[in-house]
Symmetry: C2
Subunit: 230 residues, 2 copies
């Protein structure tokens, strides 16, 4: 069985805060003891805040200018909505610049190096707790063709981002083709079920997931040259 535990009790996070210590305290606060193999899932917003990835956005014009600055390419525009590619290669609304759940007049940006952030957070959690965990940093993205948003992985450390089942066979002995499962995105989506959205739960523990090896969220970025929809 896999368990999805919401981590409540995490207050406002400010630039310079030790997020790993905050998480460790909150995890203890909900009565959990971290175990080797646990996946600590955290929304990028608290990571960005701890890293100081914030920018002033006192009005709509300043916000729009910030979106243009963070975008390396604009894929589509409609009214106020901009679908942009970020420096990381992610394609998302408003280049990941977000004004919700942040002090008025400010906007939160994506971490500069989310895989690096995940790696640092994992090491620091390991240092504090003595446990070998994985870390997934999430954001909430829209999708082409499907309505509604889903959480995805933008930073990964200590677990694979993609599980490649090519070369394995199905129940009939037929070789499975093109079966690369985006396991880190599925972890992000699962954790979001535990977090809820308007209730200020920015972290969850995914316990009992089996995996081998390590990857990065960068593995999930499709090369624009290989993307049939760019």
């Amino acid at each position: 069985v896999i368990e999805l535990h919401p981590i409540t009790g995490i207050g406002e996070v400010a630039p310079g805060d030790d997020l790993a210590a905050i998480l460790a305290e909150a995890i203890a606060g909900v009565g959990l003891v971290l175990q080797d193999g646990d996946v600590v899932v955290v929304t990028h917003k608290v990571v960005s805040k701890a890293e100081g990835a914030l920018a002033p956005a006192e009005d709509d014009d300043a916000y729009r200018a910030l979106v243009e600055r963070e975008a390396v390419a604009i894929l589509r525009r409609r009214h106020d909505l901009v679908i942009a590619e970020t420096s990381h290669g992610f394609v998302c609304a408003n280049a990941g610049v977000d004004r919700s759940n942040v002090t008025l007049g400010q906007a939160v940006l994506l971490p500069k190096d989310p895989d690096g952030s995940a790696h640092a957070l994992r090491r620091r959690i390991g240092h504090i707790t003595g446990k070998e965990v994985a870390v997934v940093i999430t954001d909430t993205f829209g999708r082409a063709w499907r309505k509604g948003l889903s959480d995805v992985a933008i930073g990964v450390s200590g677990m694979p981002a993609i599980v490649d089942l090519r070369g394995t066979t199905d129940t009939q002995g037929r070789e499975l083709h093109a079966t690369e499962i985006a396991i880190a995105d599925e972890v992000a989506a699962a954790a979001d079920l535990a977090m809820g959205k308007a209730t200020s739960v920015p972290a969850a523990i995914v316990r009992g997931l089996e995996f081998d090896g390590e990857g990065r969220a960068a593995d999930l970025v499709r090369d624009p040259d290989e993307d049939l929809f760019r």
Copy 2:
């Protein structure tokens, strides 16, 4: 806490089989007792097999013809890969026609009415077990922009497909815009973590999820006129 339980012990499913009875038996077989509010997640492949949504595909040419027949629109082609819109409005590879985990010489199609299939399965499970469950039928889809596949909901009954948080406020009192969470897709992704891929586990129970109301997987289909990428 939310729990993801794999339902093992489901053998080959054949046209005319009582899938609800098979699931109920397998659930009991893994030592679980269904509870009100459980979400029974099942891959469409066993649903399609039980419904007889199969077609002969004795060679690659026959398979390709089947894909063309099931597609109502072809969005992209590259080599053997066809990204197509199905009669349901889903956009996916090969119009959902799949030759893995099926008898050689056959292909499995998507159910004709997956929301109807989910509804019928839910009623029959309720009849057999006396429990009020929700049902999500899944398929494995690729995504634009991101590598790897993820399970999504193609049929939903007894729970919402989308949770609309518009009108609620964030921690700063700012109104949340455009926060429609594709909860049924997140349930599908979470359940896939429990199922694994090459191990023939076509069902899982998601236990402990809180939700209100009901929706359909059709709610997740973005109108082509509103889709910036068609």
